[in-house]
């Protein structure tokens, strides 16, 4: 039944949709888990809901409390919705000059925004959020990069949904950000499916993201455990854009650019299976729809134009 008591209850149970045209053969098939079909339009609704529920159950969060989180993307938007409905104040910390669509969405849901200086990048925003949380011991930082409920959301919901809908799954492919999606779904599928391959597609960001002063400023999310993965790909912006456009043109799926990066890796493993003469059901995760990225202009024009339009834009 597709009837729910509230928008929070409508989180999850997203469709798994085949790609009849992009699948290499009848024996090697691609399937998209469409996470844009969640209440605020991204996979992060599951994460926000699970992290808030876990904090409530642990007694860390009580009605009227303040949540602080370093985020400017889908997690912030999802948290803002969950916080509004469950009676919390949300403060987001993000670098200055993020796109106006994102701050507008966050403010629409009632979130407050604290900007950290641009030059410090994401690492600085995480540090600022930690400092502010230390000054306000009664505020709660859910911290998705290290919160076990992030991965558990996928272990308990997304993973079981995928196996229920595709018992013959051989490969699972998703994007690598906080790593929660791959850790949660990966662990669940490894327990249930013999020889399953868990594949990470990591969008290759613009130069500036990698412009650290020294290597010790690098960061690996606390949730990450390399043993869960079978393979890990870095996908450049051009390939991500090409695949994102292919999904619209060939299969009619209008998705965000991170899904293009994920499809690129999914196609690589699918064609390797085809070459090896093996059957395969490759499930890949679409984290969000294309709406928030329309203003980049990267859905039209030449690939080179799209590539430079996306350089420095939010798309994963």
């Amino acid at each position: 039944m597709a009837r729910y008591e509230s928008v929070l209850d409508a989180c999850g149970n997203t469709p798994l949709v085949g790609l009849p045209r992009l699948s290499p053969s009848p024996e090697v098939r691609l399937w998209a888990k469409l996470e844009d079909r969640n209440p605020t339009g991204s996979v992060k609704d599951r994460v926000a809901l699970w992290m808030v529920k876990a904090a409530e159950e642990a007694g860390r969060l009580r009605p009227g409390d303040t949540i602080i989180e370093p985020t400017s993307g889908n997690t912030g938007i999802a948290l803002a919705m969950v916080a509004k409905l469950r009676g919390y104040r949300l403060v987001c910390v993000m670098p200055e000059n993020v796109s106006s669509e994102r701050t507008a969405l966050l403010r629409m849901y009632g979130a407050e925004i604290i900007f950290s200086e641009a030059a410090g990048g994401s690492n600085r925003a995480v540090a600022v959020a930690k400092e502010i949380a230390a000054e306000h011991p009664d505020w709660v930082m859910l911290y998705q990069y290290g919160n076990e409920a992030n991965a558990r959301a996928h272990y308990e919901s997304t993973g079981p949904e995928i196996l229920r809908d595709m018992p013959t799954i051989t490969h699972f492919v998703a994007g690598l950000g906080t790593t929660g999606t791959l850790m949660g779904i990966g662990r669940y599928l490894r327990e249930k499916v013999e020889d399953i391959e868990i594949i990470a597609a990591e969008p290759r960001y613009g130069e500036l993201v990698y412009g650290l002063r020294n290597l010790d400023e690098g960061y690996v999310p606390e949730l990450y455990d390399a043993k869960v993965l079978t393979r890990r790909f870095s996908v450049g912006t051009r390939d991500s854009v090409l695949r994102t456009r292919q999904l619209v043109e060939v299969e009619g799926m209008f998705v965000g650019f991170s899904a293009g990066a994920v499809l690129h890796a999914a196609l690589a493993v699918a064609h390797q299976a085809l070459k090896a003469g093996k059957r395969a059901d490759v499930v890949f995760l679409v984290a969000d729809g294309g709406w928030k990225y329309l203003s980049t202009g990267a859905y039209g024009g030449t690939l080179a134009d799209a590539e430079s339009a996306l350089d420095g834009q939010l798309w994963a």
Partner: protein, 103 residues
């Protein structure tokens, strides 16, 4: 055997500012030794004192992470492309940071 190696901004002080350099070797370990013969010091930045890959360094052969291909023993062939990148916080957040830095 020619292998194209992409160097991140943070390590270009070792390559005279070059974004890409050429190298050779049958494995990643061989390639790093070869690079170090022309770009002295670069190998020590990428490896730990114990000789493993630095925790905050990711190396990719034809876009695939070498940690899943045998790490320093990962095999290389003529024409392969190797990319070296620092590990950074992923997802939308990293891009927000890039956008912010650009202003």
């Amino acid at each position: 055997m020619a292998i194209e190696v992409r160097i991140p901004t943070i390590l270009r002080s070792y390559t005279g500012g070059a974004k890409t350099v050429e190298g050779s070797g049958d494995t990643i370990a061989d390639l790093l030794t070869d690079l170090d013969s022309r770009h002295s010091g670069i190998k020590a930045r990428l490896l730990t004192p114990e000789g493993g890959l630095h925790r905050f360094v990711n190396v990719y052969v034809n876009d695939e992470d070498v940690r899943f291909l045998g790490a320093l023993d990962a095999k290389l062939s003529d024409g392969d492309s190797v990319t070296i990148l620092p590990a950074v916080a992923g997802g939308a957040f990293a891009f927000a940071a890039a956008h912010a830095l650009r202003g």
